[in-house]
C-alpha cells in the first residue's frame, strides 16, 4: 500500500460528514485532529516535492500542514468532490505562497529567482559538456534566452547574496557528506599541504573551506573543477571562496 493511493483515505470520508455536522466543542476538535493527522502523509508528500528548492524539509512540512488544516476546515463534503482533490491544490498553494512570501531574506522578484535557478542548472549541465565553465553567451544559447537576460540573472545573483540564496544553492548538495566526498586521502592535496607549509590560519578553517581554498589557490583548479570534485555548484564554490577570503583577511588584519 502506498501513501499516494487515494484509496487509503476513503474510509475517512464519513468523518468529514460528521465534522460538518458537529458544533464547536471537544468532539469537533477531536474529529479535526484525527482528520489532520490521518492526512499528514499527503502534506509530507507535497513538502518533499518542494524539497529541492532549498528550504529545510521540516519547515516545508509545517507549512504544508498549515495548508492541510485549512483544507480540513474549509472542505465541504456536501459539494460531492473528494477531500484529496480539494486538499492537494490547497496545500500546494500554501507551500507556493511560503516560497513567494518568506523564504528570501532579501526579496528577489520571482522572475529573477527562476532566472537565477535556470542559470545555475544550465551552468552545471554546460560545465559537464564543455569541461569548463560556460560563458554568458553559451548559457544564452543553451537556455534559449538573450545574453541580456543572462547578464541580468548573473547580476541578480551578485546583488542578492542572502543567506537564503546560499541555502537554495545548497539544497541537494548539503545532503552529500562533504567529508566523505573530499576525503582526507586525496594525495594531491596532501602533497600541497605539506609542501606549502600553510599559514596556521588556513589550518584553522573548517575542512571543506580549507580544501576548497587549497584546490583553488595552491592546486590551480578552477571553480568549476572544484565544484565537480566536491559535488556542489560553481556558484556555491564562489560564495565559499569569497566568504573564506574575507574571513582570513579580517583575522589577518586583527593580528
Amino acid at each position: 500500500m502506498t501513501g499516494s493511493d487515494s484509496g487509503d483515505y476513503d474510509h475517512l470520508a464519513p468523518l468529514f460528514v460528521e465534522l460538518a455536522a458537529t458544533e464547536e466543542g471537544p468532539r469537533r476538535e477531536a474529529l479535526r485532529d484525527e482528520l489532520v493527522t490521518a492526512h499528514l502523509p499527503v502534506a509530507k508528500h507535497i513538502a518533499r516535492r518542494f524539497g529541492h528548492r532549498g528550504e529545510p524539509y521540516e519547515d516545508l512540512v509545517q507549512v504544508a500542514t498549515v495548508g492541510l488544516i485549512n483544507a480540513v476546515d474549509r472542505f465541504d463534503p456536501e459539494r460531492g468532490s473528494d477531500f484529496l482533490s480539494f486538499a492537494v491544490p490547497t496545500i500546494m498553494g500554501e507551500v507556493r505562497k511560503y516560497f513567494r512570501d518568506s523564504s528570501w531574506s532579501v526579496r528577489m522578484p520571482r522572475r529573477l529567482k527562476e532566472l537565477h535557478l535556470a542559470i545555475n542548472s544550465g551552468t552545471a549541465r554546460l560545465s559537464q559538456q564543455l569541461g569548463r565553465a560556460p560563458t554568458p553567451s553559451e548559457l544564452a544559447t543553451h537556455l534559449g534566452m538573450t545574453r541580456e537576460e543572462i547578464h541580468e540573472g548573473l547580476a541578480a545573483g551578485n546583488a542578492y547574496q542572502s543567506a537564503s540564496l546560499d541555502d537554495m544553492l545548497m539544497s541537494d548538495e548539503s545532503s552529500i557528506s562533504l567529508g566523505s566526498t573530499l576525503g582526507t586521502e586525496d594525495p594531491e592535496i596532501e602533497m600541497i599541504e605539506q609542501r606549502e607549509a600553510l599559514h596556521p590560519l588556513l589550518q584553522r578553517l573548517p575542512e571543506r573551506e580549507r580544501k576548497i581554498v587549497i584546490m583553488r589557490f595552491f592546486g590551480n583548479m578552477t571553480q568549476t573543477q572544484i565544484a565537480q570534485k566536491v559535488g556542489i555548484s560553481q556558484m556555491h564554490v564562489s560564495r565559499l571562496l569569497a566568504k573564506t577570503l574575507r574571513q582570513l583577511r579580517e583575522v589577518l588584519e586583527e593580528n
Binding site: 569548463r132 553567451s137 548573473l154 560553481q234
Partner: protein, 148 residues
C-alpha cells in the same frame, strides 16, 4: 593621475573614451562591493566564462583590500578598468604613508597570482611630494572560448 581632495564616502565613476572606466572611492572596506560589481559586470560583458568572471571579482576584491590596508588617512582608492585584446586590465592605486610595497610572500599575494594572468605592484613617490602611491595592476583573460 593625481588624487584630488575628495574625502567623503562617495564613489565617482567616469567613463573615458580610451581609458575604460575609473572608480574613485574612499579607501574603505564598505566600498569593496562596488568595485566587485563593476569588475564582474565588465568581465560578463566581455563574455568571460563564469570561472574567469568570479576570479576577476575575487582578484579585484583582494587588490582593493590590500590597498585599503596600506592607505593613508582619508586616501582615495582609484580602480581603473580597461578592456584590451580580450583581456581586462585593472589599474588600482592608493596614496600611502609608507614606501613599502605589498608583501609578495603573503597569502593574499598568492591568492592574486592564482586568480589572474598577471599581477604587478610598485610604489611611486607621490606627485605632491608628500608620501607615496602604491599601485597594483592585474591582467585577466577568459579561460573559456572567446567569441568575438
Amino acid at each position: 593621475m593625481p588624487t584630488d581632495a575628495r574625502t567623503n564616502n562617495e564613489v565617482g565613476v567616469s567613463q573615458l573614451e580610451d581609458e575604460g572606466v575609473e572608480l574613485r572611492m574612499s579607501a574603505d572596506p564598505t566600498q569593496l562591493s562596488i568595485a566587485r560589481a563593476v569588475a564582474a559586470d565588465i568581465a560578463m560583458r566581455q563574455d568571460f566564462d563564469l570561472d574567469s568572471i568570479e576570479d576577476l571579482k575575487l582578484a579585484v576584491d583582494e587588490t582593493c583590500s590590500t590597498l585599503i590596508t596600506m592607505a593613508a588617512h582619508k586616501a582615495v582608492l582609484s580602480c581603473r578598468f580597461v578592456v584590451n585584446d580580450d583581456a581586462v586590465h585593472v589599474h588600482a592605486q592608493v596614496s600611502s604613508g609608507s614606501s613599502a610595497p605589498p608583501d609578495r610572500e603573503s597569502f593574499g599575494w598568492r591568492v592574486l597570482t592564482a586568480l589572474v594572468d598577471s599581477v604587478t605592484t610598485w610604489v611611486d613617490p607621490a606627485s605632491t611630494g608628500d608620501g607615496h602611491v602604491v599601485h597594483i595592476d592585474l591582467v585577466k583573460r577568459s579561460a573559456g572560448a572567446v567569441n568575438g
